[in-house]
């Protein structure tokens, strides 16, 4: 276990190093003088001078990277040129909203995806199976911002059941919060449900044809017990890793979903930063996302290792 953990951690360090180089390198894509580009449209000479000194722009590239990376290692992701606030504070401020959205989306995706996947595998080559596959294709092919607009049209404009956009804190009004978040969460969970359905179906088909399931059936166990207790429990193991991998899809999707529903989360932070040319925020958000993603992957690997006894032999 310790050896496995150390091996994984050993690959994590260079990966994060290259992530930081990549994100630092983004700044080099800015045409012309980065200080002028970073200063925004006003091009205030004072701001330009300040930025040049702050980012050590007169120094060689490796030195600039060193200054930037040492700041990052101390939790300093830079400062927003627009809002004049540390990027770390901005991220931590917006993160709870996106975490709520992502958690609700993942729950919706798990319920729909795993249920559809199990039904599809158990009733292979029937209309249930075809229906579930059509659902998966629909989920994978529908742009979530379009689905969001269609749901707003149906549930907010036509039926008037849910608010079209906006956000209420759950601590102020839990019912209002859930009403505002349910549509975006469904929109975000839709594509992941499709991926989970396909993986659950294929894992279930594999497990259902294995010897121990045949033995369980031969023992005369109820089909429900065979499917839920013997087959699904084993088929779910790879889903753990997949859940972590889908975190990237969740965050990417959150950018668009939060934009459609005007939710002031992490995704909206990066979009606003892009439009305000607040490049430090863009860099900070990408770096933060990548670090969380890599860490979640490590945790998923560990969980996979723990729940799969064969890997421990």
């Amino acid at each position: 276990m310790l050896k496995f953990l150390l091996q994984r951690l050993a690959t994590l360090v260079p990966t994060l190093f290259f992530v930081s180089v990549l994100i630092f390198g983004l700044q080099q894509l800015l045409p012309g003088d980065p200080a002028i580009a970073l200063a925004g449209e006003e091009r205030d000479p004072e701001t330009i001078r300040y930025l040049r000194a702050k980012f050590h722009l007169d120094e060689p590239l490796p030195v600039r990277y060193w200054h930037w990376a040492s700041g990052v290692l101390q939790g300093d992701l830079g400062e927003s040129v627009r809002i004049q606030k540390p990027v770390t504070d901005l991220i931590l401020e917006k993160l709870p909203v996106t975490i709520q959205l992502a958690t609700m989306a993942m729950l919706i995706a798990l319920v729909i995806g795993i249920t559809a996947g199990v039904i599809s595998a158990v009733k292979k080559d029937t209309w249930w199976d075809y229906g579930a596959n059509v659902f998966a294709l629909w989920g994978l092919s529908t742009p979530n911002f379009w689905l969001g607009i269609l749901l707003i049209l149906l549930f907010a404009v036509e039926l008037g059941w849910l608010p079209a956009s906006g956000y209420v804190s759950p601590f102020e009004d839990l019912k209002g919060n859930l009403a505002a978040m349910i549509m975006p969460a469904f929109v975000l969970g839709n594509a992941i449900a499709a991926v989970l359905m396909r993986h659950t179906r294929s894992a279930m088909l594999q497990v259902l044809s294995s010897d121990y399931v045949r033995t369980a059936r031969a023992k005369g166990l109820e089909e429900r017990v065979v499917i839920l207790k013997h087959a699904l429990r084993n088929a779910l193991i790879p889903i753990i890793t997949l859940g972590a991998l889908e975190f990237g899809t969740l965050l990417s999707g959150a950018v668009l979903t939060e934009q459609v529903f005007s939710i002031p989360g992490f995704g909206k932070l990066i979009v606003d930063a892009v439009f305000n040319r607040d490049y430090s925020v863009v860099q900070g958000v990408v770096l933060f996302t990548a670090t969380v993603y890599v860490t979640l992957n490590l945790l998923a690997d560990l969980a996979y290792f723990l729940v799969n006894p064969r890997l421990r032999v």
Binding site: T15, L22, S141, F145, W146, V157, G248, L256, Y279, Q283
Partner: protein, 288 residues
Amino acid sequence: MAAVVLDQIQAAPGRKALRRLARRGGAMLGFAVVVFFVLLALLAPWIAPYDPVATNWSAIRAAPSAAHWFGGDELGRDVLSRIVWGTRASILAGVVSVSISLALGVPIGMLAGYVGRWIDSLISRITDAMLACPFLILAIALAAFLGPSLTNAMIAIGISATPVFIRLTRAQVLNAKAEDYVEAARALGNPHLRIALRHIFPNIVAPLIVQATLAIAAAVIAEASLSFLGLGQQPPAPSWGSMLNTARNYVDQAPWMAVWPGLSIFLLVLSFNLLGDGLRDALDPRHK
């Protein structure tokens, strides 16, 4: 003579795969819809009933009618004409982005897989780093730094999708390298470049084609997403993503402005997904 026989033997699996593909209704439907959209993009000047950027006061948010089948937008431009012209941006983005990914990903993946050692470790770590940044977020960041335009969006999407091709090519090369025919080619004294290009590459093309088809679907959605956020095709040039962004503000007054561009993205992406799934099943019969 021997070369002809060898060609026939090599062509046989390809023909078999095509026959398997032709038997798949979903894949054929996907292919037909893709062809339809490609024709739409190529023949846009002749098919579109109006100039896609021409405004018309009498057609502002006009409901679908005989004059404007898909209605009018917020400036009175014909939605159908903008959909037809918008096909160009989507198809172009899909094909160009994936070409960039292939042009970068395949040689780098082959280098990593074939040479191995520290080069493989270095490339693998860089690939891991790129994969650690979620695809769309990396594309948004790249597009933001490069500046908003369709060309930059295509570059951003292409670069963001490259690590998947590096990883796939590397894995395929590692598998192929262990095969007897590569051993034989090496034993005959073939130079490395020739082994990689003439012996390994043709044998790893099938999974690359499948991945490229599915990647086009993802690239079409990514371009629409970037345009929706204002980082892709710039107005007034038509793009399905930017049309949806505008439509969001008029969803209660002119819902048709949102329905048609979204439906077009959905159909094109669905078709590439159907075709990709069909190709995967046809080229790798073990996959079901």
